[in-house]
Each structure stands twice: as structure tokens, then as C-alpha cells.
């Protein structure tokens, strides 16, 4: 059938077989003459893909049918299945995705076997998901998650693995062994691809809750472990350059984490410089975007000349996220008062810097160990007056049952409220404050162990450190020093950051849902350390 006019011009035999392992099996067994013939006769009508979507395996997949039962007899193959991705990274990440028609004969095990390792993914890290394309292909109206995917952090070098085996077994004994070509992907690319995959997964029922729930059973833990490993490698040896005057007293350090948009460096220099008290501060910019290095170095040099500011630029080789970037920024600070400031935070009160120093000097240490401030939207309304916690409960379908999942939601006091509502802006202890502006006594921050780098890219690490501080006996405070926060516009959002949001919410809920139920729920929590002074 070679050269058939029905075959698309960009049809690729190898890619089609890789994307459709059952066809490859048919070709291998002689049932079909070629992938092209199969596509023309059946595949086009069945809606089978012949082009890979981004990140999908292009490596060849070879099927061996020699799967055998325990008694040695030859097992029949599954009715229909597909292995669509086997990706591995040098740092030990493994991503597997595919589907199987197991609506009536459940998947019993999915074994990944390679040189020196063998894991039953169903036991360590496997999630099922809805695949409407598979439903269409099978003509199935069943409410059944045909898709599967897994992520493992094996912590060992997988750079040179060319192929591995994926052994699929169903409860009836049916099975197949897939000899899969491995696509080797850089560690960060694999993490981002998997997070993007997660963000795009289809689910039955409440999509958000079901996506978070699928991280149970190992997936979430492996993703976090992999990200931590990446982060540790990237922060190990940063490029650090200091600008501006040496010497002089530094009473506070503003640490700004940059990602994607370089303009915030010169903007914050311009907006913070020259204000009362700011001469006793230093600026520390930590870049999570290596491609901006040259631009940031030039801008920092210019800004120091133009404004006379003391500043440090810390350049990282990749995106380590908010927590790790701030941790390393704080490590390079030259003062005992360290402040995490989002790039899109701007002074609303011209004397904010002096007020911040005065607040620290005047108040008891326990009220300034960790504190936030009221932040405002660009339209003038309140954006943040502290944070509190609620729980979202949702039923998630699992093996024909509805399982309750509680997810913690972090809310801001007074979001969108009029600017001068004293109940929202007055000094008081609060369950948490936003990471957009967090002022720490340095020794307290270090005693707490810094921000947790288990939160991928960003979100929830601010609430997490506040809860750890509270658990250690010192709640976060809000003090009335006012700044603007152009929320959500400081860095571009990507599918990977969307995926990370699911992982972070899963992790935060897993860590804190129980504690929050016990005295920290709602805008007026009962926790004794959060009783506001009148």
C-alpha cells in the first residue's frame, strides 16, 4: 500500500507504530502488511494518531508476545492497549504513559524492568485517568479510566538506557511484554513535561480534586523527590555578582526572585531607591531564568550606577522555584532582617522602608519574627490582609466508589475590600501571610529551616512556613505597612506551573489538613496563639 493516496503526506511509519503498539504487534505477527496499510484501511477511520503530540515518545516500540503465566503457559494478549511514552532522565526520573482496555479485566500489574531495576508501577506510583480518545476508539460508553501514567524518581543515572521492558498483566492472566525504546530527556525538561501532562489530564467528576487525588499512591512523592534533587543540584553553585557600594551598615535585605520577566530588576531599583530609610537596605535578586543572565547583569550594573543601590545578583542555571530561590537569596544577605518581596510589589507608602525598620525596632521580637503587610491591587482595593484556611471537600471516583478528599484552600482576608478597613489592616497575629512580602528575623528563618523546597516552582510555601512557625510557638503577624501588589503578573504561567499547583496543593493538604481541622479553620480560628490583641 506504499504511496497510497489516502495516507497523509507527513505519515511516518515508525512514528505510527510507536504510537500504536497493537498495530506494531499486528505488523510483527504478519496480520498487517505495514503501518501505512493499517492506517489507510483502519487507522484513519478509527481516529488513530500518526503524529506525536509534544513530548510524546518517538522511539521505536517493539512488541514481544511471549508473556507467560506462572505455570509457563502462553498468556493471551490484552484486548487493546497502547504504550505512548517511556521517558527517562539522567537524574533518575522515569515517566510512563499509555492506556489499556481493562474495563472488564482489570490491570493487575504493570512492571517496568530495566538494567538493574524492576518495579511494579501499580504498587509504587501509578495513576489512572480518563482517555476520551480511547473511549472513542473502543466505541466505549463505559465510565472507565482507560489511561494510565506513572512517574518514578529512581535516584540513579538512567542516561544510557536505550530500551526497557513494560510487562502488562491483567487479573485474568492476559498480558503482554513491551520492549520499549526509551526517550532520554534532561531532568528539568522531564519534570516540566510531566507537570504539563498532569495539568492536561482528563478526569471523571471534579477535575481538580481528582487530579490532586491521583497524586496519592506514590506519584506525588516521587515528583517532589525528583524536583528536590534537581533543585539541590541547581542551587549548589550559583553565579553571584555584587554591585554598588561596599561597606556601610545593612539593616535589612530585600530578596526578589525573578522568573521570565527581567524588567522587575530595574523597576524595583527605581521604585525603592531614594525613599526614606532605603539607604540601610540591600537588594538581592535571584534569577530562575538563565537566559536572562546577560540582561540582568547589565541592568544591575546600570541600576547601581543610576541609584547607588547596594545589590547582589544570584543567577541560577534553571528554575528552582520560589522557595529555593529565596533560601539562596537569604543565604547571601548581609543583614539580620531578611524580606522576601515579589517582583510585582511596589511601595504604596513612600516611607514604607523606614516604617518597616521602625516596626522591627519597636515591637517585641515575637511580633516581628515573621510578619507580612497589607497589600493592594492596582485599583486601590485591598489584596491581602493576612491569610486563613478553609477546606474543600469533594468526592473522587475510585474503583466504583466515591472517596472523600479534603483539600486545603488558602484565602486572603479582605481580598477586594476598601483600602482602609482597620479590621483588616491593623496589627495582629494571623494564620499566615503571603510570600509576596514576608519579613523574617534571620535567626528565626534559619531555625525554621527556611522555605520548604518541596513545593515545586511556587505556591503554599508561604503558608507552610507560617504554620511551621505557629507550630513552634510563634505565629505570623500582620503589621500596617502598605505596598502595592500587582498579583499574578510577575511571571508567565505555563502548563508546567499549572501542574505544579496540583502537586503543591496535594502536598500542603497532606501536611496540614489535620492541623487546620484542629483549631485553624476559617477566618476566625480558635487557635490560642491567634487571639488578636484588642
Amino acid at each position: 500500500m506504499s504511496g497510497s493516496p489516502e495516507a497523509p503526506a507527513d505519515f511516518d511509519e515508525a512514528v505510527y507504530l510507536a504510537l500504536n503498539p497493537d498495530v506494531a504487534a499486528a505488523v510483527s505477527s504478519g496480520a498487517s502488511a505495514s503501518g501505512r496499510e493499517h492506517y489507510v484501511r483502519f487507522g484513519a477511520r478509527e481516529g488513530r494518531r500518526y503524529l506525536p503530540i509534544s513530548g510524546e515518545v518517538r522511539a521505536p516500540v517493539v512488541i514481544t508476545m511471549a508473556t507467560r503465566r506462572a505455570d509457563g503457559s502462553r498468556a493471551p494478549p490484552p484486548a487493546a492497549f497502547g504504550v505512548e511514552a517511556v521517558h527517562m532522565s539522567p537524574g533518575g526520573g522515569v515517566f510512563v504513559a499509555g492506556w489499556i482496555d481493562d474495563a472488564t479485566d482489570p490491570l493487575a500489574s504493570l512492571t517496568l524492568r530495566g538494567e538493574g531495576f524492576e518495579y511494579d508501577l501499580a504498587q509504587v506510583s501509578l495513576a489512572r485517568l480518563r482517555r476520551s480518545d480511547v473511549e472513542t476508539r473502543l466505541g466505549s460508553g463505559a465510565r472507565h479510566p482507560y489511561g494510565f501514567w506513572s512517574f518514578l524518581d529512581l535516584g540513579r543515572d538512567l542516561a544510557r538506557i536505550g530500551t526497557c521492558q513494560l510487562i502488562i498483566r491483567q487479573e485474568s492472566g492476559a498480558g503482554v511484554t513491551v520492549e520499549a525504546g526509551v526517550l532520554s530527556v534532561p531532568d528539568a525538561d522531564l519534570r516540566d513535561a510531566v507537570l504539563a501532562w498532569l495539568a492536561g489530564t482528563e478526569q471523571f467528576g471534579d477535575r481538580h480534586a481528582a487530579t490532586v487525588a491521583c497524586l496519592e499512591g506514590g506519584l506525588g512523592a516521587h515528583l517532589v523527590a525528583h524536583s528536590r534533587r534537581l533543585t539541590a543540584a541547581m542551587v549548589a553553585d550559583p553565579f553571584v555578582q555584587r554591585f554598588g557600594p561596599e561597606g556601610g551598615r545593612v539593616r535589612a535585605s530585600l530578596v526578589v526572585c525573578l522568573y521570565g520577566l527581567p524588567e522587575f530588576l530595574f523597576l524595583q531599583n527605581a521604585l525603592f531607591a531614594g525613599l526614606p530609610g532605603i539607604e540601610e537596605y540591600e537588594l538581592i535578586f535571584v534569577s530562575n531564568s538563565p537566559h536572562l543572565a546577560d540582561r540582568l547583569l547589565r541592568d544591575a550594573r546600570i541600576a547601581s550606577l543610576v541609584h547607588g543601590t547596594r545589590q547582589t545578583l544570584v543567577l541560577l542555571p534553571g528554575n528552582v522555584g520560589f522557595a529555593a530561590a529565596n533560601n539562596i537569596g537569604f543565604a547571601h544577605a548581609r543583614s539580620d532582617r531578611i524580606v522576601a518581596v515579589n517582583p510585582d510589589v511596589m511601595p504604596r507608602q513612600q516611607d514604607w522602608a523606614q516604617r518597616h525598620l521602625d516596626t522591627v525596632a519597636a515591637l517585641p521580637p515575637e511580633q516581628t519574627a515573621l510578619f507580612g503587610v497589607p497589600l493592594y491591587y492596582e485599583d486601590g482595593s485591598l489584596m491581602h490582609g493576612g491569610m486563613y484556611f478553609t477546606l474543600d471537600s469533594a468526592p473522587v471516583e475510585s474503583r466504583g466508589r466515591l472517596v472523600r478528599h479534603d483539600l486545603v484552600r488558602v484565602e486572603h482576608y479582605g481580598k477586594g475590600a476598601p483600602p482602609d478597613d482597620a479590621a483588616l489592616t491593623r496589627a495582629r497575629p494571623v494564620p499566615a501571610v503571603t510570600g509576596a512580602f514576608m519579613s523574617f528575623r534571620r535567626d528565626w528563618f534559619e531555625w525554621l529551616g527556611g522555605f520548604s523546597d518541596g513545593f515545586i516552582f511556587g505556591h503554599y510555601e508561604d503558608a507552610d512556613i507560617c504554620l511551621r512557625s505557629l507550630a513552634a510557638g510563634t505565629p505570623a503577624w500582620l503589621h500596617d505597612i502598605r505596598l502595592w501588589h500587582l498579583e499574578g503578573k510577575s511571571s508567565p504561567r505555563t502548563p508546567a506551573t499549572e501542574g505544579a499547583t496540583f502537586v503543591n496543593r496535594w502536598q500542603f493538604s497532606r501536611s496540614w489538613a489535620a492541623a487546620i481541622r484542629n483549631g485553624l479553620l476559617g477566618p476566625a480560628p480558635l487557635h490560642p496563639l491567634l487571639r488578636a490583641p484588642r
Binding site: 530595574f266 523597576l267 527605581a270 531614594g274 540582561r295 541592568d299 546600570i302 550606577l305 547607588g308 492596582e378
Partner: protein
């Protein structure tokens, strides 16, 4: 007293009103005993041979106290210089020269952060900034004309600006405004060439006490006939300026078409100027179609002629060929130097009833005003000017001498000395 004047371009290299005024001030200050003016003009890669390897600031044709700032890579949104070497060179230049006054006639091509840098390098110098348009307020080319419908804009808000430039989120305008204001804080005194501009900048948040109205003053153009020609019909109209959209030559051509359609053809229009290549594609096509159609007419039926570019020294002789100077601008027009040139040549002006022209031209006393951006209103005004007996004589007799260079220099010297605002009545 050393006065450093920063000009967006050198008028010998690139024509334009802002650089013309900066240059006139430089020349005028040279005549003042005890004052040493220094002229630093930005340039661009349009003349690449000016860029000498490794140099950031160079001399200009061996002329004393004239320098070129070899600008490069200036971000057009933030108006920020991206080359630290240029910044360092400017700082060195300042420290070497140690001017008492640094007078910016723009931040475009220099970078607005040079204001703060100047204050940083010379804490005691006096920084003066002259606005020639609204670029600090308006990211839409600084004209404060709404890109949504071409109407005039009288104030900026994040939502209004976002409507003009939808690809920029509202927060970006907030940041731009904050950034501009942060650097403009370094300025001791602002000046505007027309009083109405004060309202825009005050509403934007600049302190009223810092803004002074100083009109652009000029030397009279060369080649002005000793006395206006004695003739009956006053039916010759002239346009002088750039053929870019905001100067409104397209509006004038639309008015001509309307009159022709009405059957009124007893007049001529001479277009003087160039830079059609900087017009928008739509207006350029419109103008080119008009030119082509006009040239296919028999010579006796042609109304509009295109006289092309001219050197400032030719202004007088070009003005001598017309009776009325038409200023059809479709933006606020901060001053309109051409009005001064027309008045110096005793030519009444026909101009829109807004902004700088409305402030300068008094309707039916020294010129005629028509409804802003309204081709029909302009057509009716042209017709009236061409046919109404004695109107030209009446208006020509009402023309007062335009502001002089000497007057402008005197007012700036007063401002440099820390004098209070010199305000002209609106």
C-alpha cells in the same frame, strides 16, 4: 554658568520640533555673557558611520561644545537605556563638564533613568525638563490620541490605556507610570511650551508648582518678503510639516475631495514636507492614491501640488507662495512651530480648535479654527477663507509677532536661576 542641553536628535541630522527648540536655545544662550551652553544630541543607527568603535559620546564635526550621544538599544516601552557603557560614559561626561544646569529636551533615545543618574552624579545641579509631547504619560506614541477611535485623550488610567494597547495588561501601565514618575522625581523644574499641557501633567500627578509655561521662541525664518504681495483673491493654501499621521495632511486631502465634490475648485493647496515613509500603511496608501489621481488630471484641474522637502532656510520663500497656512493636526499639538513661522511671514493660520493651536490662534482675529479632526469642518473653513472678501486682510492685520528666541532664552535663564514659574495667560 554651564548649561548642558540634551536634545533628542541633532537638527542637522534629523529634523523635528523638539530638537529645533533645543538648538535655538543653545544658540541663544551662546549670546549670553557668562553662560556656556553645551549641546548633547542623541542619535540613532540611521547614520551608522557616526558610531565609532568603543565610543559612546563623541564630538560633532569639530564644533565647540557640541556632542553626539551614540544611543543604542533603548527600550521603547520603558525608555530605558540597556547599555551600561553608555550610562558610564554619560556619568563621566557629567563629572568632567560639571554643568550647573542640565536641561533635558527629551528622554527618548537617552533613557529616562539619566534623570536620576544626573541627580546621583551632581546632587547640586539644577535639572530642567521640557515636555514636547506626552510620552511620559502616554505609551501610545505620547500623543494622547486614543488608538480606539482617534479621539483626544485627556487623562490616562490603566483601563483606558489598556483599551488603546490591549496586548499590554493594565498592571503594565501602572508600572510604567510609577517608573516614569520615579525618575521624574529628580527634576527640579518642568516646562511646557503651551499652557494647556500643564493641565495634563498636573492631572497625572506632577506638582503644579514645578511646571512652568515657556513658549518656544524662534528667530524669524530667512527669506521673508519685505511686505506681503498685493493681490485680490486669497485662495492659496499651504501645508508645512511631516507627512506623518498626526500632522493630518490626510485630513486636508479629504477636505479637498469634499470641496471638489461640491464643485468648488477655485483654490490651490501646496504640500511642503516629507517623511511619508513614517506614516501608517493606511494613511500612506491614502495619500499616495491621492497624489496619483491628482497627477492624472489635466494641469488646469489640479488643486494639490506636492513641493516636497525643504530646508528651514527655505521656509520664507515657500511661505511667500501661499496665503493661508493650514495646520490640520489630529493630536493635541504641543505648540506647532509652524504657526510661529506662518505668523513671522504674516500668513493667517487655519488650525483645529484644540490644544496648542487653539491656545495660540484666536478665531476670526488672527486665524480660523475648525472642529478637531473633522474634514467637513475643515473644507467649509477653506471655502470661507477663499471666498469671504477682506477676511484675509482682517486676519493678517490681527497677527501678533510670534515668541522670539530672545524671549525664550530670557525665560529659561530666569528658571535656571530658580525663578518662579513664568506663566502666560491661557
Amino acid at each position: 554658568m554651564i548649561v548642558l542641553i540634551l536634545s533628542v536628535f541633532h537638527p542637522e541630522l534629523v529634523r523635528g520640533g523638539a530638537q529645533r527648540v533645543a538648538w535655538d536655545l543653545f544658540q541663544g544662550l551662546k549670546q549670553v555673557p557668562g553662560v556656556r551652553p553645551v549641546f548633547l544630541a542623541a542619535t540613532d543607527r540611521g547614520l551608522p558611520a557616526l558610531y565609532k568603535t568603543g565610543a559612546c559620546i563623541t564630538g560633532f564635526d569639530g564644533l565647540p561644545d557640541e556632542y553626539l550621544f551614540l544611543a543604542d538599544d533603548v527600550d521603547p516601552w520603558w525608555h530605558k537605556c540597556s547599555d551600561p557603557r553608555l550610562i558610564e560614559a554619560y556619568a563621566d561626561f557629567l563629572l568632567r563638564l560639571r554643568p550647573d544646569i542640565v536641561h533635558f529636551h527629551h528622554f527618548m533615545r537617552f533613557g529616562v533613568e539619566l534623570l536620576t543618574l544626573t541627580r546621583q552624579m551632581l546632587p547640586d545641579c539644577r535639572i530642567v525638563f521640557t515636555f514636547h509631547e506626552f510620552l511620559a504619560i502616554c505609551a501610545a506614541d505620547g500623543h494622547m490620541v486614543r488608538w480606539t477611535d482617534g479621539s483626544l485623550c485627556d487623562h490616562a488610567t490603566p483601563a483606558r490605556c489598556h483599551a488603546c494597547i490591549p496586548e499590554a495588561p493594565r498592571e503594565r501601565f501602572v508600572r510604567r507610570e510609577a517608573y516614569m514618575k520615579a525618575h521624574l522625581r529628580a527634576v527640579d523644574a518642568f516646562t511646557v511650551p503651551s499652557d494647556f499641557m500643564r493641565r495634563h501633567f498636573e492631572r497625572w500627578g506632577l506638582p503644579a508648582s514645578k511646571i512652568t509655561h515657556i513658549a518656544n521662541g524662534q528667530m524669524p525664518p530667512d527669506g521673508i518678503p519685505a511686505s506681503p504681495s498685493e493681490r485680490g483673491a486669497r485662495t492659496r493654501f499651504g501645508f508645512f510639516g511631516q507627512l506623518v499621521d498626526v500632522k493630518g495632511v490626510w485630513l486636508l486631502l479629504q477636505a479637498v475631495e469634499l470641496l471638489r465634490a461640491d464643485g468648488f475648485t477655485a483654490f490651490t493647496v501646496e504640500i511642503n514636507g516629507d517623511n511619508l515613509r513614517y506614516a501608517s500603511a493606511r494613511r500612506r496608501a491614502e495619500i499616495e492614491r491621492f497624489i496619483e489621481a491628482e497627477q492624472t488630471r489635466p494641469p488646469g484641474e489640479r488643486i494639490v501640488s506636492f513641493a516636497g522637502s525643504y530646508h528651514p532656510s527655505q521656509t520664507g520663500e515657500r511661505m511667500a507662495r501661499i496665503d493661508w497656512c493650514v495646520v490640520p493636526s489630529v493630536w493635541w499639538e504641543s505648540f506647532a512651530l509652524v504657526i510661529s513661522e506662518a505668523w513671522a511671514c504674516r500668513k493667517p493660520v487655519i488650525a483645529p480648535d484644540v490644544g496648542g493651536p487653539a491656545e495660540r490662534v484666536t478665531h476670526e482675529e488672527d486665524g480660523l479654527l475648525f472642529a478637531f479632526a473633522d474634514a467637513r469642518a475643515l473644507a467649509d473653513t477653506l471655502r470661507r477663507a477663499a471666498i469671504e472678501p477682506d477676511l484675509w486682510n482682517l486676519l493678517a492685520a490681527g497677527i501678533a509677532p510670534p515668541p522670539t528666541r530672545r524671549q525664550m532664552v530670557r525665560e529659561f535663564l530666569s528658571l535656571y536661576a530658580g525663578g518662579s514659574a513664568v506663566r502666560r495667560s491661557a
